[in-house]
Amino acid sequence: MKLVTAIIKPFKLDDVREALSDIGVQGITVTEVKGFGRQKGHTELYRGAEYVVDFLPKVKIEIAIGDGLLDQVVEAITKAANTGKIGDGKIFVTSLEQCIRIRTGETGEDAV
């Protein structure tokens, strides 16, 4: 099992969700996060004074999947979240030791 964590631009969330549904992903968890990468922050203006916003708003998606679906999931996110501009985000893949569905007690790939 794998845990795929993707940081994407917030306005790409719907596209990514649709792409993942299309390949059969059953559930995702979404968090609003802030951070910076190579895009860095940007400056804003308030009453004549400039200020730097270091951390930009992003959306973090977490998806637990069976090993077989990994390549498809990575490809779906990469395609759907891509704008070609700096700040599109990243995908992290980690292996997942265990997964349990709370309602039924199922474990492993049956539960993801």
């Binding site: 804003e44 203006l45 308030y46 009453r47 004549g48 004074a49 400039e50 200020y51």
Partner: protein
């Protein structure tokens, strides 16, 4: 028959006064929303608490002694309820110019209209000292300001009394129709004294002299507050005509409404364009301050300018307020909502614009009047703030300021999260 007409005129002018007073009362909501929008969310509950409490204090203290100091009469308004119908009708019949003569209206309606002006002056202070002042020190100042400092300068201006028996402002050609100086600049002078002793918010000014932005939490609220103030201002200026009940005065009221609105429009657009030229962006907060600056600038004389003049006077206020806000920041005078610039600088501007259209006033009279009001309010406020600072302190601790005065003073957040215990 004639007596019936007098009854009716009395009723109409009293009713007009009360409606305008209610409009001005609603300005308290405008100040509360404007200030709540321009502070950070961690200081919202406290600024709202201040705004409601200061309104209550203003009403009580003006009732206890403020009105008596300003206009004579008894403390606690003890004689205000009685009306002698026969002698009132007699004064109607005897007044010069008959039906079109001076306004005669109910005494309680006069108090009601005056008391909401005191609260307006006090509301101006709360925005300037926001986010760092102790709640109870502020409320203690509100007691002195509304019971004594404001009524004293009010007695020299609208009350017609001599300044400590030395000179009478009215004789010198001083005229302030609805209170650019008496209400707005006075409030700003008290605010300036407070800010000077209080210091800037932590992090507002860097070590190398840079000005850091501390963005307000809720610009929709600030915008709503500005529109509420704009609406309330029709009562503020319109009611100050004091009479509706004849053709001349009814027309004057209509002209005041028209000019008040025109000045706000001129001020808003002038500030928007100025901000765009200075900063490269259309700064909403400057636009809001510009509308208010236009309103303050026209308040000293909204009845004599033409509609075009009123728009231009407002526009001058709108340009001036942007430069004033930037200049105060350079001087490290931290005013989160721009109250000192809007009400102080543009209040002075309003006073100085009066002689252009009102031949009954003079520049020298306006200057002496402005100086009298400013020096009196600034010096007495400085003393009161200094005494409060020595006695109980006027500033919250650095840690409380960092955590937000909502938690430190009120123990309550404006926008609580993660607190649902079901």
């Amino acid at each position: 028959m004639e007596n019936n007409v007098f009854h009716l005129q009395y009723a109409m002018d009293t009713f007009y006064f009360l409606v305008c007073g209610a409009l001005v009362m609603w300005m308290a909501a405008g100040f509360a929303m404007l200030e709540a929008g321009l502070v950070r969310s961690k200081n919202t509950t406290e600024i709202l608490t201040k705004n409601v409490a200061l309104f209550g204090i203003s009403c009580i203290m003006y009732l206890v002694c403020g009105y008596a100091i300003m206009y004579g009469g008894n403390y606690f308004l003890s004689d205000i309820a009685t009306v002698d119908v026969d002698s009132t009708l007699k004064s109607f019949a005897e007044r010069e110019d008959g039906f079109t003569g001076g306004a005669i209206y109910s005494k309680p309606s006069d108090f009601f209209f005056q008391v909401v002006f005191v609260a307006t002056a006090m509301s101006i202070v709360s925005g300037a000292v926001a986010e760092r002042m102790k709640l109870w020190a502020f409320l203690a100042f509100a007691v002195v300001m509304t019971a004594f400092i404001y009524p004293m300068e009010g007695s020299w201006t609208w009350g017609g009394n001599a300044v400590f028996g030395m000179f009478t402002l009215k004789d010198l050609g001083f005229s302030d129709f609805a209170g650019s100086g008496i209400v707005h600049m006075a409030g700003a002078a008290a605010a300036l004294a407070g800010v000077l002793l209080l210091g800037a918010r932590k992090g507002k000014y860097g070590k190398k002299g840079e000005v850091n932005a501390i963005p307000g939490a809720n610009l929709p609220l600030a915008t709503l507050g500005t529109f509420i103030l704009w609406m309330g201002w029709f009562g503020f200026n319109g009611g100050s005509v004091l009479k509706l009940g004849d053709i001349g005065n009814a027309n004057s009221v209509a002209m005041v409404f028209l000019n008040t609105n025109a000045a706000a429009a001129g001020g808003s657009i002038a500030a928007l364009i100025t901000a765009r030229l200075l900063f490269g962006k259309a700064d909403l907060t400057m636009l809001l301050n510009g509308a208010l600056a236009g309103l303050v600038a026209i308040t000293a004389e909204p009845s004599t300018p033409s509609a075009l003049q009123a728009t231009l006077f407002g526009a001058i206020g709108g340009v001036l307020v942007v430069f004033s806000i930037v200049a105060l920041d350079k001087l490290k005078i931290d005013d989160p909502v721009g109250a000192i610039s809007v009400h102080g600088v543009c209040g002075l501007l309003g006073l100085l614009l009066v002689p252009i259209t009102n031949t009954g006033s003079s520049f020298s009279g306006q200057l002496i009047g402005a100086l009298t009001i400013f020096v009196w309010v600034f010096v007495t406020s400085l003393i009161v703030w200094a005494v409060l600072k020595a006695a109980i302190g006027i500033r919250v601790s650095e840690e409380e300021e960092y955590e937000g005065v909502d938690l430190a003073e009120c123990g309550m957040e404006a926008y609580p999260e993660f607190t649902n215990k079901q």
